[in-house]
């Protein structure tokens, strides 16, 4: 996993609430047994006018000109902003894989679904929760200034706007640490193998019916 320290990029406005994981990456693409290659199918049903299937020749597909990521300059965006409850629905990690593979580094929204939120951190993707009011202000600023670019500083936990104004955000200390160092948390947990074994010994003695 690539570490996330700071990132500067164009913010693409996806002005919808309850963006679900079926919309982020439709089910036909979940048949892959790989972690990569989902980016071209991110938001497939919104991005293209034809029906997408795995292995299609993308150059022949009709893009939907109405969809934000098909409009200049948002094809170059690396930060996504959306409304409430982003990432609701299934636990498919293919959703953050697709978002990350497309080239996004961070998502700004008033709220995220729990499993999706969790999955993002495992893939070097930073989901940032901001108050509804702030999200509203950002949407307005983005609509007024095409190519609106911000800098996210994870270490200091703020977003720098084009006006140089800073918006601070909260992030869990453990997740921040893992993200900033690109850490694999399995490796971290394995360091506690002895604690796990000790727990098991005691646990199965008490709950012998589980053996």
């Amino acid at each position: 996993m690539n570490p996330f320290i700071t990132h500067t990029g164009i913010v693409a406005p996806l002005d919808r609430a309850n963006v679900d994981t079926d919309a982020i990456i439709p089910k036909q693409f979940l048949k892959s047994i790989k972690k990569t290659g989902f980016g071209p199918h991110l938001f497939d049903e919104w991005r293209y006018l034809d029906h997408g299937e795995p292995g299609m020749d993308l150059s022949r597909r009709k893009k939907n000109p109405e969809f934000v990521l098909n409009q200049t300059p948002y094809e170059k965006a690396s930060i996504l902003i959306a409304r409430e409850n982003f990432g609701c629905g299934s636990s498919r990690e293919h959703a953050p894989w697709a978002i990350e593979d497309y080239g996004f580094k961070a998502i700004l929204a008033p709220s995220f679904a729990d499993i999706f939120f969790n999955n993002c951190f495992k893939n070097g993707l930073l989901p940032i929760v901001l108050p509804n009011k702030t999200i509203d202000i950002l949407f307005k600023a983005i609509y007024a200034n095409k190519g609106y670019t911000v800098t996210i500083d994870l270490e200091n936990q703020f977003i720098v706007l084009p006006s140089n104004e800073k918006i601070s955000f909260q992030v869990d200390a453990f997740r921040k640490h893992c993200l900033m160092h690109g850490l694999d948390d399995i490796g971290l947990t394995m360091q506690h193998s002895e604690s796990i074994k000790a727990f098991e010994q005691d646990y199965y003695q008490k709950n012998s019916w589980l053996l």
Binding site: K27, S91, N118, I186, N207, S208, W209
Partner: protein, 467 residues
């Protein structure tokens, strides 16, 4: 001793270690299916890691499997590879699996409880958001992503923060024809699809206690649609009599010991929840979703909303978008909505009781001419066998339904079962998202009896006044 909620009891009994509010939680049962596991097994292989506790795992292919003649194999080559990859991984790591042609194969959330693999007091995970289903047994069960699947495979633990607790108390006697599905949808209509985000929900009250285990599973299954990663119901006699005598459940002396512990799995009388939501069970009417999120739901007596009456511009836009996608006019009575397809199945409503409920409505009747396809997809091979023993398959077939092999099927349309663009479906599944049942497909979530009744009439009808 401090009074505790059921969630706190389950969580605390599985803490391996804690640091600054981040917990390492021990996992008792890991359910595995073909879609969210291949990359996790690959991760183990790349890093030369072993599976920590093989015994904790039960694997089954369910999302990609065909529901038609299985002897023909899987025709979609990509689906076939995914199912075969699960077979290979289970063989390589020495895991218990019910392969596609095993009579015990079925939807992971149906077979866990059916096999006694899901037990009270357990922590249960699966790379599937509907793992909340298993909370019906007084267990802490939640969906996880593939990275976490790999983490649990390698360490038997999950890194977690404590959830907040929400009590959803449903008092009163449910009316005839009202099911757990209606309670779940009514709750989501009330608190919204993000209402439970960050919470573990415990369902309590007279209406809940009166539900069978199948009903409780339906309810906990839908907790995730209210945003809650875990839903649960306290253990009582109904729970214990369900888990006894299942293939994987404890027997003899071990069972007696387990029972003594299971009986402590309820919230203490004075336990405090962070939030309490009350519903009156006797006032819940049959529910039908009209839009593209489970919170877009009304009573069968209601109508589609009028966006003009919504003052919040963001909400107004959501209503307009949903009505457009669903091809519905504002202020349209729900019972005038005509249906093209019927789907009875999914981890929400494919258990024997669900099939009995639908068959009871369909007995001696035929589906309407405008219904192009009506599917019954039992939750497991054993549910299918039981239904056939009871003659339910004949009732469905005589009514015009197709009687299929078990799997996730048209709930998410990963296999060949799907809606075509513009088709409208009365579905007993859990998500009415855009494209969920097929690109351009339009889903209305209902209970099994409401889906069956809609099949007979060709449009939604009130099950309470249905003869």
């Amino acid at each position: 001793m401090q009074a505790k909620t059921l969630y706190e009891k389950l969580f605390e009994s599985h803490i391996v270690r804690e640091e600054d509010g981040t917990y390492l939680i021990y996992i008792d049962r890991h359910l595995v299916h073909e879609v969210t596991s291949p990359q996790a097994f690959e991760g183990l292989r790349i890093n030369h890691r072993a599976v920590w506790r093989n015994k904790s795992i039960l694997a089954v292919p369910d999302h990609n499997v065909p529901t038609t003649d299985r002897s023909l194999g899987i025709s979609d080559p990509i689906s076939k590879i995914q199912v075969e990859t699960l077979d290979e991984n289970c063989k390589h790591f020495g895991l218990t699996q019910f392969p596609m042609n095993d009579s015990r194969q079925g939807i992971v959330h149906v077979i866990g409880p059916e096999q006694g693999s899901t037990l009270p007091g357990m922590t249960i995970v699966c790379g599937d958001s509907h793992t909340s289903t298993h909370g019906a047994f007084g267990a802490l069960a939640m969906g996880i992503g593939t990275s976490e699947v790999e983490h649990v495979l390698a360490t038997q633990c999950l890194i977690l923060k404590k959830f907040k607790t929400m009590e959803v108390r449903v008092e009163g006697k449910l009316n005839k024809g009202i099911t757990a599905k209606d309670i779940a949808l009514a709750l989501i209509g009330r608190i919204g699809t993000a209402g439970g985000t960050g919470y573990a929900i415990e369902f309590t009250g007279e209406s809940i206690r009166s539900l069978s285990m199948e009903g409780r599973m339906t309810l906990c299954n839908m907790a995730i649609e209210a945003g809650a990663r875990a839903g649960m119901v306290a253990v009582d006699d109904v729970t214990i009599s369900y888990v006894e005598n299942r293939p994987f459940s404890p027997k003899g002396e071990a069972l007696e010991k387990a029972k003594a512990y299971w009986k402590t799995l309820h919230s203490d009388k004075d336990a405090k929840f962070d939030q309490v939501v009350m519903l009156n069970g006797s006032e819940i009417p049959p529910q039908v979703t009209w839009g593209t999120s489970p919170e877009m739901v009304v009573s069968i007596e209601g109508m589609t909303p009028d966006p003009k009456k919504e003052h919040d511009p963001s909400k107004r836009k959501s209503i307009e978008d949903a009505l457009t996608y669903m091809g519905l006019e504002p202020n349209l009575p729900i019972n005038q909505i005509k249906i093209d397809k019927i789907f009875i199945g999914s981890c929400t409503n494919s258990r024997i009781e669900d099939l009995r409920e639908a068959a009871n409505v369909l007995k001696g009747k035929k589906i309407a001419h405008n219904i192009k396809l009506a599917l019954v997809v039992p939750g497991s091979g054993l549910v299918k066998l039981q239904a056939e023993k009871e003659g339910l398959d004949q009732i469905f077939i005589e009514a015009g339904f197709e009687w299929r092999e078990p799997g996730c099927s048209m709930c998410l349309a990963m296999n060949a079962d799907r809606l075509n663009p513009g088709e409208r479906c009365a579905s007993t599944s859990n998500r009415n998202f855009e494209g969920r049942q097929g690109q351009g497909g339009r889903t209305h979530l209902v209970s099994p009896s409401m889906a069956a009744a809609a099949g007979i009439h060709g449009h939604f009808v009130d099950i309470r006044s249905f003869n």
